[in-house]
């Protein structure tokens, strides 16, 4: 294992680009899971990929083009209503089909599609760092405002309707926030890595946490640790970041599922 690349300044920008994104994804993932909308994240990531490639085909920077598709997807998700798995399935297929057709028919698209599917975080530059910190900052500012409204809407959906409170705007802002963060994350971390960081930390946190606050903290810690470990290991072992990050998160999920059984058997 060669640890020397870790200290190379050239990898500082990718590291700075990924960190706020994985924390934002892990936090958003808890709300998506509670709302039974985690599949939407995969649909939005596919649409962001297709949009990023379409942007590249017309000379637009992919990180700026990707949010267009994701935001259109968020609009579709909002209009079709909450928890519409069929709509998410359509988003996934539309994004996948468009991505591969663009990749097959443009030289730049082919290279970019491979980079996004492989999850090449190490290509991230100043633009990605700027967008990532903007996305992370928006999550930090908006989530505490949105959270009580979204939780109340989940557990007491009739309360806001009965009192004629404008709950629609909280749902819409949340959908747009998720779409924006996923778009930037997809272009920076890779498609499946972005989905994994929104899906798996929340899944692990949900099974073990004793409170909502604990769930948020656990999800953030799991996402952050998985990111640091996969960043270092991918460099040291010369592996693609995305698949390695997903593999580490899946190992974490397996250990988390095994632990109660080990506890029960007295082996832990």
């Amino acid at each position: 294992m060669n640890l020397a690349p870790i200290w190379d300044p050239v990898f500082l920008l990718p590291w700075l680009a990924g960190l706020p994104l994985v924390l934002a994804l892990a936090l958003l993932g808890t709300l998506l899971r509670l709302r039974d909308e985690w599949l939407a994240a995969l649909g939005l990531a596919h649409l962001a990929t297709a949009s990023g490639l379409a942007g590249a085909a017309v000379g637009m920077p992919p990180p700026l083009a990707a949010p267009v598709g994701a935001l259109l997807g968020a609009g579709l998700k909002y209009l079709t209503g909450k928890g519409q798995n069929s709509a998410y399935g359509v988003m996934i297929l539309a994004g996948w089909s468009t991505t591969l057709l663009l990749a097959a028919n443009t030289a730049l698209g082919d290279a970019l599609a491979h980079a996004v599917v492989d999850g090449q975080l190490y290509f991230a530059g100043r633009l990605e760092v700027g967008l990532a910190w903007l996305a992370g900052g928006l999550v930090l500012v908006l989530l505490p405002v949105l959270m009580p409204h979204l939780l109340r809407a989940r557990f007491f959906p009739d309360h806001e309707l009965a009192n004629r409170l404008p709950i629609w705007r909280w749902h819409l802002v949340f959908d747009l926030l998720v779409a924006g963060v996923i778009a930037v994350a997809t272009m920076t971390l890779g498609l499946m890595a972005a989905f994994a960081f929104i899906f798996l930390p929340a899944m692990m946190a949900f099974s073990g946490a004793r409170s909502w606050r604990g769930t948020l903290i656990a999800s953030g810690i799991i996402g952050g640790l998985a990111y640091l470990a996969s960043f270092v290991l991918a460099l040291a072992l010369d592996q693609p970041f995305g698949p390695l990050a997903v593999a580490l998160l899946l190992i974490g999920l397996g250990l988390a599922r095994l632990r109660p059984r080990l506890n029960a058997s007295g082996a832990w």
Binding site: R33, F155, F156, F206, R210
Partner: protein
């Protein structure tokens, strides 16, 4: 919607007919004042829940004369409270969500508040939802089958909680349990489709 002029009256309805695409229930005439507990009784399928939902705008009022105080805050316990399969919130967080954490909860409930709501029994979750509805700020409390999932002992606890909080608001209760309604209500209105 016209406003009632009597200071204590929260709302009054005359010849109230409610439903969805078509009328389901009514006509019913009803007045509710602060501090009052009124029951809606009737056989299954009579439309009692539809009446409650029409008050909240969740079902349609087809006919009748209707007056309410302006800016009423409504609180509503549905017949089947939402309960996601995985919900890692504890009871204290749930009460805070509904601003129902400013009053000390009854001892029986307080002992369960540090547990995740998805790990409470059906009856415990129903009591938590009931207290969320009763203990927060509101003018009118609508309870749809509040004794669902409750054994007789927990039903007694629910009745006491409703009576303890009666002065804070006007309460309208739908229940198929005639004994429960007789225990907590000042009067009952029979509903038929």
């Amino acid at each position: 919607m016209p406003a009632v002029s009597d200071g204590a009256t929260l709302f009054q309805a005359q010849q109230w007919v409610a439903g969805y695409a078509d009328p389901v229930v009514g006509p019913v005439s009803l007045t509710l004042s602060r501090g009052e507990i009124v029951g809606l009784s009737g056989p299954n399928g009579a439309g009692k829940s539809t009446l409650l939902r029409s008050l909240l705008g969740l079902a349609r009022i087809h006919a009748g004369h209707w007056e309410t105080r302006p800016d009423l805050v409504w609180r509503y316990l549905p017949q089947r409270p939402v309960r996601p399969a995985q919900a890692p919130l504890n009871g204290t967080e749930m009460l805070r969500l509904m601003q129902a954490d400013r009053l000390p909860p009854p001892a029986r409930l307080a002992a369960k508040l540090d547990r995740r709501v998805d790990r409470l029994s059906g009856g415990e979750y129903q009591l938590l939802q009931l207290w969320c509805t009763l203990a927060g700020p509101g003018d009118v409390v609508l309870l749809d089958e509040p004794t669902n999932n409750l054994d007789p002992e927990h039903g007694q606890f629910a009745a006491q909680a409703i009576l303890d909080r009666r002065s804070a608001h006007g309460t309208l209760i739908v229940s198929h349990d005639a004994d429960f309604l007789a225990r907590v209500c000042d009067r009952c209105v029979e509903v038929s489709s």
